[in-house]
Amino acid sequence: MTAYFDRPSPVHALDPRVKIAWSVVVSLLAVVLGHPLLLGVLFALTIVPWCLVRPPLARLRLLMVLVGTTVLGTMTSQGFFYGFEPRTELLTLLPGLSLCWEGVAYGAIVSLRLLSVLSAGALVVFTTYPSDLILALTKLRVPHSFAFMLTLALRFLPETVEQGKRILVAQQLRGGGGRGLSSAVRRFRLLVVPLLIVSLRSARQVALAAEVRAYSSNRVPCKDLRFASADWAVMAGLVLLTTAGITAALLGYGAALGGIR
């Protein structure tokens, strides 16, 4: 859904470490800010880089589904299970289980937080090639064997999905189809064991290939990351944004725990 999308854009050209910093800053501000207006501004800020990236419509639609379900789920769960007073009841499902206005409104504010973090995080993933993200993590002192494992996991992902599809098709050809919940559970049960076995065999092959090619943790990456002037400029902007956010929180616009401002 938020997989890498290749298109030349100023956001794509930024250093992955800057994009990680962007994601961290937005997460921090989402925690410290509390006023709905400031949270709205934060969410609007996270939308700006998306305008530079111009994602394709199909991806946008999928993102909208994710956004919609997140907002709806948060507003509903907060509406029904809001634990603070006062509670103005809008709808009663069962005795003791009612939708309250304060919970729905608080859910909308919480959604702004979630969407800001989601938007900033998805932008990083959408505009950075996964191996570049891993390289950035290595630059941030993540152990090499851990980075190697993440690279392998990325390599296994499409293969595992493909294997799963292949096994399902083979089972359907042998008359393993059918509709309904019970047949879905049966198909799932029949899928898991062969998928695990085939995938583990594939992992063995990859490990053998790596050892044959003298894999060791003392590798020198063929690509290096360097900060350009645009990266420094964005980092300066992030420092300013963080300072402004923390100052606003200290001035009384910080997060209200469980209440609505």
Binding site: V24, G121, V125, M149, L154, L196, I197, S199, R201
Partner: protein
Amino acid sequence: MTLLWLYISSVFGLLVAIGVVVVTGLRRRAFRPFATLELATAALLICLLHVAVVPWQIGLAKVPGLDALIFSIPYTAIFLLGLRLVPKPGIATLLVFGQGIFGQLLGRGINPAWWPYYLWCAMGVELFLFAVGRQLRSLPAMLGAGVLRGLIAYSYTYLILAPFLWHQFYAPWYVALKISMGMVGCVIGTVLAWRLAPVIEKATRHSSP
């Protein structure tokens, strides 16, 4: 401020837990580097953990109350299979932390505020495995590992992370319901893993690359 201090205390608690795991491992001379095959197996399991959870993110898991149950079944099953396949100190950390970072790389973006959560789950299981031996050859031992991870994961999420990071506050009975549903999912996942483990182990033992 209380939540901030609670979160900071959890980070300090985590450092202590990591210290205990490291000291225990060093005293028992249990730490050995992972072979390439073990790293590849862990990578595959991380990928499977991700694949097992992703399809539910838009569907039934958005129904309040059901999410913990739905996520925990496949996650616990694959996690415990991983512990059986690579019985080495550190594998729980590789799997839980690795899957967390992998999920962040592919979907949510890198967010270090979540890292203590992954590490708490991992350290809990590492300590448990030091206590029972690393083999997990009995159903109670597997149940212990599965349920402990679930208990730490859901308690930490709903009591510390959700209120602190998302400012989501729920009625206490609802939090208790969510944690209980998660635990039920963990038990079901453990039983699944218990049934699958011998088949998978046998198949991998006798398979050539």
